[in-house]
């Protein structure tokens, strides 16, 4: 057992009595001011318990007499932010869509706000710069499935595509293969016909007349006789250079066989009207807006 009265010969300080390989641990007392401060902090902590939220209860916690809560702080900060944005966002909300781009100040505000909202909500599918990906349209180019005017963009953002919202865009690219409407070789012929529409090379054994017939009977209803597409139905233009899923034969065969039904959610309930407006202007100003 430790001998607590043991005094270290060299320093004259008492030891804790512990020894490791002959090395003793000195029992150097803490400085008095330090000890006093330590006790004061303990006393001080009782004050904290009383005035601030401290102890967990079964379903809640003690709230403290100051009534402080960090959540309330956030609410205050957000309210302040709204106050700072205040009239500017109100002005944005009141301005007609077409006027926003003509007013440099409003355009700058809409683009700034739009960019932030886009980054938080749209970028996961469309990419941070709106460049899109396979199946997710590039918003910088001039091809629009559902129309590229400000009003059309706003409508699409608000109500989405196949989103389940009553006002959302609805249409379907049929699964011609899966449903048994077209046979495998007919699908290959149709795919080659579609490639020919935009001047892409076709397979050697491909029968153009047969392809035209299949297209007229099955595809023209939505994509038009010349394959120019129809924005009312979200049917893409098949004659241009932009392909949402790809233009090679295999991809086209897959598209015709299984159909396509990309989904964009409705955002109308997520954003206030001025924010959704800002977002529409931002997307429109990326470069492809009509």
């Amino acid at each position: 057992m430790a001998e607590h009265n043991d005094i270290d010969q060299v320093t004259g300080t008492s030891t804790t009595g512990h020894q490791w390989d002959g090395i003793k641990e000195l029992n150097t007392p803490l400085p008095r001011w330090w000890v006093i401060t330590f006790y004061i902090t303990i006393v001080w902590s009782f004050g904290y318990w009383i005035v601030y939220p401290a102890w967990p209860l079964v379903t809640s916690h003690t709230t403290g007499i100051f009534g402080y809560s960090s959540r309330a702080d956030v609410a205050v900060e957000l309210a302040n932010l709204e106050k700072i944005r205040g009239d500017k966002m109100v002005k944005l909300g009141a301005a007609p869509l077409a006027e926003i781009e003509k007013d440099p100040a409003l355009l700058a505000l809409a683009r700034a706000r739009g960019k932030t909202v886009f980054g938080d909500n749209c970028a996961p599918c469309h990419g941070s710069g709106g460049a899109g990906a396979k199946g997710y349209p590039n918003l910088n180019d001039d091809e629009w499935l559902w129309g590229g005017s400000l009003d059309q963009i706003l409508h699409t953002i608000q109500f989405g595509v196949r989103s389940g919202h009553a006002k959302g865009h609805e249409s379907a690219m049929l699964a011609f293969g899966k449903e048994g409407v077209l046979k495998k070789d007919q699908i290959v012929t149709a795919a080659n016909y579609v490639r020919s529409l935009s001047g892409l090379a076709t397979a050697k054994e491909y029968n153009a007349a047969e392809g035209g017939k299949i297209f007229a009977e099955n595809c023209a209803a939505c994509h038009g006789d010349a394959g120019k597409g129809n924005q009312e139905l979200g049917a893409p233009d098949l004659t241009d250079k932009i392909w949402l899923y790809g233009s090679d034969e295999a991809t086209l065969v897959e598209t015709i066989t299984n159909g396509r039904a990309g989904v964009m959610p409705a955002w109308v309930d997520r954003f206030d009207p001025s924010t959704v407006k800002a977002l529409a202007v931002y997307v429109h100003s990326l470069g492809g807006g009509k």
């Binding site: 060299v10 320093t11 004259g12 300080t13 150097t28 781009e101 003509k102 440099p104 355009l107 700058a108 683009r111 990419g127 941070s128 710069g129 709106g130 460049a131 590039n138 910088n140 180019d141 001039d142 091809e143 233009d237 241009d240 250079k241 932009i242 100003s285 990326l286 470069g287 492809g288």
Partner: protein, 504 residues
Amino acid sequence: MRPKLSLGSTANARSSPPMNKSVPIPLPLDDDGPLYVAQKKIYPQRVKGTFRRIKWGLMAFCLGVYYLLPFVRWNRGLGAPDQAVLVDLPNSRFYFFFIELWPQEVYYFTGLLIVAALTLFLMNSVGGRIWCGYLCPQTVWTDLFYAVERLVEGDRRERMRKDAARGTRKLQRFAEIGLKHFIWLMIAWWTGGAWVLYFNDAPTLVKQLLTFQAPMLAYIWIAILTATTYVLAGFMREQVCVYMCPWPRIQAALTDEWALNVTYKYDRGEKRTSLKKANELRASGQIAGDCIDCFQCVAVCPTGIDIRDGSQLDCIQCGLCIDACDTVMTKIGRETRLIGYDNDVNIQRRQAGKPPIYRIVRPRTIVYSTLIASVGAIMLYALLTRSLLDINVLHDRNPIAVKLSDGSIRNAYTVRLLNKRGFDRVIAIDIDGPVNASVHVVGADSVTPDRPMIVLGRDQTTELRLLVTAPAENNPDKSIPVRFRVTDIGLGEVASATDNFVSP
């Protein structure tokens, strides 16, 4: 006495024998004395003379400029601040009479600092510490505070007596000291008050300050400047020059044998002796110095030194000892300027019986003057020829390029246009690069679609989103340099920037 060094903690004070039993090695002794000495109270005596008059004049000038400059107006046209000197932090502008600087032009201050440093060097090589003695804010405010002290408490002897007789006539003494500190604080307060006026419209801010409606920051800065002025000029005084300021050290390294410094001409002064003895010596045909050891030069010195000890770091070279000595020399009928602006070369020449020579124009001063003139000219040239219209271009990073439905390629750029003039103006944007390229500014319905025209607001930057579209078949290269050129339709001013046009 040397201060006791106590490097070890007090923790082992109660320990019996030290662990290290080797013989303690005594610290090597040197003659430098302690690193710091306790401040000795200095009672500079009132003095009259040429240099005192110069100092009064310069003090009035410097303080006048400092306190009144914010109220000087300068018309810059409608909508622009009309304060001659203004640091407009919220709008990031610096105004100095006809000059307006934007944040990115702050590098002009570099030139200003270089000129300021070189001017210090030149002053130093001509007349020693002219800056320290006459112009430095520390000197100017300390001088003012000393003047107040003398006015309220009396001159040197009176104050020394009062301080020595501590405890008697308590109330009067208390009132005196109170009054002195009150006046000091008032001066300090107005010093801080003038400072904030440089950062806001002065007349408006004065009104706000008086009605307690000024921004909190103004009061905080006034408080800070009040405190620094009060402490530095009222209490620290010569300690700032001796211990805190780097200039005395730098100055010592920059001086040369021709620089004129406040000098005790020991060739004339030595051997110093009392007036009576000197007269006796002279009567008996012997040689006596002009210095009669009256200590007037020490009594008037604001840093409390004896100039007769020679050139020294503590001497700010204010010239007051010259005035004090001249007064005495006049009284005793000897030639004045026993202390004066001189150098050791001349002292030795006089001792050798040669006439003194003064070399104000010498390689050192010529080099400094030339440098000042060159840097000044470069700055002036840069300022007069700076562009008041500018363009910065940033290529979109994501996506770098976009393919359009007809196969052509579009690149988007963020363009920032700077109009540093005080009026709105119309500019046209041209591009030069990809073949058959067209340019479009988002949101701008220009009457000239191929050459968008934009209105740039006065004194601000305008950010635009610019789309450049070019047919792919005419531009097979992956990356084509493109130059953006903006032209002021009215003035013909042109600015341009380059970037690249990239194909996917």
